[in-house]
C-alpha cells in the first residue's frame, strides 16, 4: 500500500516505531513473567497488532478518550500509561495502574483518558458511546476511540452502542481490530458477511476498511474519522485488518491456525516495516540507541513491578464504594 500523504516526518515515525517496539518488548517480557508465575489469570498479548493502537492513538489529541477490550496493554501504553504502571498491574502490585486489583484485562488510566480494558465482549461499546456523549454534552471537543475485536460484531452491545452513537451523532470512532479470529473461530464462522465495515450502512454512518501494515497509514485513515467526529459529530465504523502472532491468550495452543499461516503473517510484521522505513533515514547507531533505550525502559518496568509491594485488604472497601461502605 503506497503512502500518499506528505513526505515522511522521520522524527514522528521514530516516535511511533519506538511505541510499537516498546509494546512488543513489554508483551514479550510479560509472556516470560507469566511462564515464571509472576502474572496470573488471563494474559492476551497485542503482539502483531501494535500498528493499530499506535497509529490510531497518534491521530488523537491528549484530551481525547480511549476504551478497549481485555487485549489492552498496548493501547494503554500508546495512550501514555507508563511501562512501570502497566507491568506492575500485570504483576498484581499496588503500584500498578489499577493498584493490582484489575490485572491484565483491566488497564485504567483516567488521567490519560484511558478509560479501561473490559472483559465482557461488547459491554464496553455503549459505555464508549457514553464517554463521547459526555464530550458532546460538555462541548469540550473531545473524541472517543472505541476498540473491539471482530468477535464483538455479533453481540448486542456492538449494535446498541453504534446505533445510539449514530442516532445522537456522537464524536466517536469505532475501531474493529479484525485479526480474523475470535479465539479459535475464523470470521467466516461468526459473521454472515466478510466485511465488518458493511454494518455501518444500516446505521447510516460512514465506514472505512484497510490493512494495518503501515503505522502512518493507520494514523492517517483514523485521523480522517477523528476529524469527522470532532468537527461534525459523525461517528465512523473503521475495520482495521490485522493479525495476532500469538495465541488468543497464554492457555491457547492455537491449533486452528497452521504454522505456515502464522509464519506468512509474521513476514509482514508492521513493526519491521516501520523499522525498515526508518532505516532509510536513520543510521544504525541511532536506531540501536533508540532500541537500547526501550530495552532499558522495559527492564526497569519489570524490575519495578517485581519489587513493588502487593496491595492489601484495606484497599477493598474504598474501591468498592465511594464514601462509607454500604453492605
Amino acid at each position: 500500500m503506497a503512502h500518499e500523504g506528505p513526505p515522511v516526518d522521520t522524527d514522528h515515525l521514530a516516535r511511533l516505531y519506538r511505541q510499537m517496539f516498546l509494546i512488543r518488548r513489554c508483551e514479550e517480557e510479560a509472556a516470560r513473567a507469566y511462564a515464571m508465575g509472576k502474572i496470573g489469570g488471563f494474559l492476551h498479548l497485542y503482539i502483531g497488532q501494535e500498528a493499530v493502537g499506535v497509529g490510531a492513538l497518534a491521530a488523537l489529541e491528549s484530551k481525547d478518550h480511549v476504551v478497549t477490550t481485555y487485549r489492552d496493554h498496548g493501547i494503554a501504553l500508546a495512550k501514555g500509561m507508563t511501562a512501570r504502571a502497566m507491568m506492575a498491574e500485570l504483576f498484581g502490585k499496588e503500584t500498578g495502574c489499577s493498584k493490582g486489583l484489575g490485572g491484565s484485562m483491566h488497564m485504567f488510566d483516567a488521567a490519560n483518558g484511558m478509560h479501561g480494558g473490559y472483559g465482557i465482549i461488547g459491554g464496553h461499546i455503549p459505555l464508549a458511546a457514553g464517554i463521547a456523549f459526555a464530550s458532546k454534552y460538555k462541548e469540550d471537543g473531545g473524541v472517543t476511540l472505541c476498540f473491539f475485536g471482530d468477535g464483538a460484531v455479533p453481540i448486542a452491545g456492538f449494535h446498541e452502542g453504534i446505533g445510539l452513537a449514530a442516532l445522537w451523532k456522537l464524536p466517536i470512532v469505532f475501531i474493529c481490530e479484525n485479526n480474523e479470529y475470535s479465539m479459535g473461530t475464523p470470521l467466516s464462522r461468526t459473521l454472515p458477511t466478510s466485511e465488518v465495515a458493511n454494518y455501518a450502512r444500516g446505521y447510516g454512518i460512514p465506514s472505512d476498511r484497510f490493512v494495518a501494515e503501515d503505522v502512518l497509514e493507520v494514523e492517517r485513515r483514523i485521523g480522517e474519522a477523528v476529524k469527522l467526529a470532532r468537527e461534525a459529530n459523525i461517528p465512523t465504523l473503521v475495520e482495521v485488518k490485522t493479525y495476532r502472532f500469538r495465541g488468543h491468550s497464554m492457555s491457547d495452543p492455537g491449533k486452528y491456525r497452521t504454522p505456515e499461516e502464522v509464519e506468512a503473517r509474521k513476514q509482514r510484521d508492521p513493526l519491521f516495516r516501520a523499522r525498515t522505513q526508518l532505516e532509510l533515514h536513520w543510521d544504525m547507531a541511532r536506531l540501536d540507541a533508540l532500541e537500547a533505550s526501550v530495552e532499558e525502559e522495559v527492564a526497569d518496568a519489570v524490575k519495578f513491578a517485581d519489587e513493588s509491594p502487593e496491595p492489601t485488604a484495606e484497599l477493598l472497601a474504598p474501591t468498592t464504594y465511594d464514601g462509607p461502605f454500604a453492605s
Binding site: G119, P154, A156, T185, R189
Partner: protein, 327 residues
C-alpha cells in the same frame, strides 16, 4: 463396576449418551465444536455427531440463549454452553423473561426443555468480571432449576436428569473441578434432583456446601477433626429444588449449622438455607447459623487478595469454631 473419570469426562459422557438416546438433543455454544471446548468438556463431540447437532456459535449469548429457548418451545432439547457463567449475564433477560416464564404465561401450553451449562464461580486471578458465582441470581427465579455437582458421578447423573427434564435446568460446573477424578458406576443413570448427600457424618455441626465448596468443607472437616470437632458435611448437589429434609435432619442431630459457598453474602443460597433451618429446626439450634461466603466486594486480581476473598478451609474452620463456642 465403576471407572475413574474426570469431572469433565463425566459431563461429556452424559451429553454423549443423551444425544445418542434422543435425536432432538443438540449442543450449542462458543468453541464447543471445532475448538473442542474452551475447557475441553465437549472434546470429540463434534466428530461424533457432526455440525448439525454440535454448533459453534458467534459471541452472542443473548442471541443463542434465546434461539435455544425458541427451539425448546417447539420440541427440540438444546444444551447451551456458556463459555463461563459470567457471560450468561448478557443472556440474563432470555433466561429470566423467556425460559422461566413461557410455561406460566402461556397457561401451561409450553414446556421449555433446555439445559444451560458451563463453569461457574472463581477460576484463578481472572478478575472481577470473570469470577461470578451466578447461581445466587438464578436460584431466585421460579421456573428454573439449578444444580451444582461436586463429584464426577453426580456430574454425570445430574446432567442426564437435566437433559431429560422438561424445564430449564442450569448446570453450574467449575473450572477448578474439571480435572478432578472420581469413581463413576458403569451404569450411572439419571440422579433425581432435590436429593442432597451426606458426604461425611459427624455430630457437632452441620456444614452445608455444594460444587467446589464441598471439597473445601471436607478439607475443613478434616482439620476440625484434629481439633476434636466432629463435622457433618452435606453436599447439596441441587440448589433448586433444595433438599431441606436432609439439612434439617442433620441439624436436628448436630444443633449447629454453617453454610459455605462462593459468591457474596447478601441474599443468596446461604441466606435461603439459614431461613429454612431457623424456621424448620428452631428448637434444635444451639447457636446462630453462620455463613461462609466470598467477601462482600468485587473479586480483586491480586492473588493473595483473591485468596482472602474466597472461602478457604481455614475460614470455614474458624467459623465452625465460633458456632461450637470454641473460637
Amino acid at each position: 463396576m465403576s471407572r475413574t473419570l474426570r469431572y469433565r469426562e463425566a459431563l461429556r459422557e452424559a451429553m454423549i449418551e443423551e444425544m445418542e438416546r434422543d435425536p432432538n438433543v443438540f449442543l450449542m455454544g462458543e468453541e464447543v465444536g471445532h475448538y473442542q471446548g474452551a475447557y475441553k468438556v465437549t472434546e470429540g463431540i463434534l466428530e461424533k455427531f457432526g455440525e448439525k447437532r454440535v454448533i459453534d456459535t458467534p459471541i452472542a449469548e443473548g442471541g443463542f440463549a434465546g434461539l435455544g429457548i425458541g427451539a425448546a418451545m417447539v420440541g427440540l432439547r438444546p444444551i447451551v454452553e456458556f463459555m463461563t457463567w459470567n457471560f450468561s449475564a448478557v443472556a440474563f433477560d432470555q433466561i429470566l423473561n423467556n425460559a422461566a416464564k413461557v410455561r406460566q404465561m402461556s397457561g401451561g401450553q409450553y414446556t421449555c426443555p433446555i439445559v444451560f451449562r458451563g463453569p461457574n464461580a472463581s477460576a484463578r486471578q481472572v478478575g472481577s468480571q470473570h469470577s461470578h458465582a451466578m447461581e445466587h441470581f438464578y436460584t431466585h427465579v421460579p421456573g428454573l432449576k439449578v444444580i451444582a455437582p461436586a463429584f464426577a458421578a453426580d456430574a454425570k447423573g445430574l446432567m442426564k436428569t437435566a437433559i431429560r427434564d422438561n424445564n430449564p435446568v442450569l448446570v453450574m460446573e467449575s473450572e477448578t473441578l474439571y480435572n478432578t477424578k472420581g469413581e463413576v458406576p458403569d451404569d450411572q443413570g439419571p440422579i433425581p434432583f432435590g436429593v442432597a448427600n451426606v458426604v461425611r457424618t459427624g455430630k457437632d455441626v452441620t456444614i452445608v456446601a455444594y460444587s467446589r465448596m464441598t471439597h473445601v468443607a471436607l478439607e475443613a472437616a478434616e482439620k476440625l477433626a484434629k481439633l476434636g470437632v466432629s463435622a457433618e458435611v452435606i453436599d447439596l448437589r441441587t440448589l433448586r429444588p433444595l433438599d431441606e429434609d436432609t439439612i434439617v435432619a442433620s441439624v436436628k442431630k448436630t444443633h449447629r449449622c454453617v453454610t459455605v459457598h462462593e459468591g457474596w453474602p447478601y441474599g443468596g443460597v446461604g441466606a435461603e438455607i439459614s431461613d429454612r433451618v431457623q424456621r424448620l429446626a428452631f428448637d434444635y439450634l444451639d447457636a446462630p447459623i453462620l455463613r461462609v461466603a466470598s467477601l462482600d466486594v468485587p473479586m480483586p486480581y491480586n492473588a493473595k487478595l483473591e485468596q482472602q476473598c474466597m472461602p478457604q478451609p481455614e475460614r470455614v474452620v474458624d467459623t465452625v469454631l465460633r458456632v461450637v463456642h470454641r473460637g
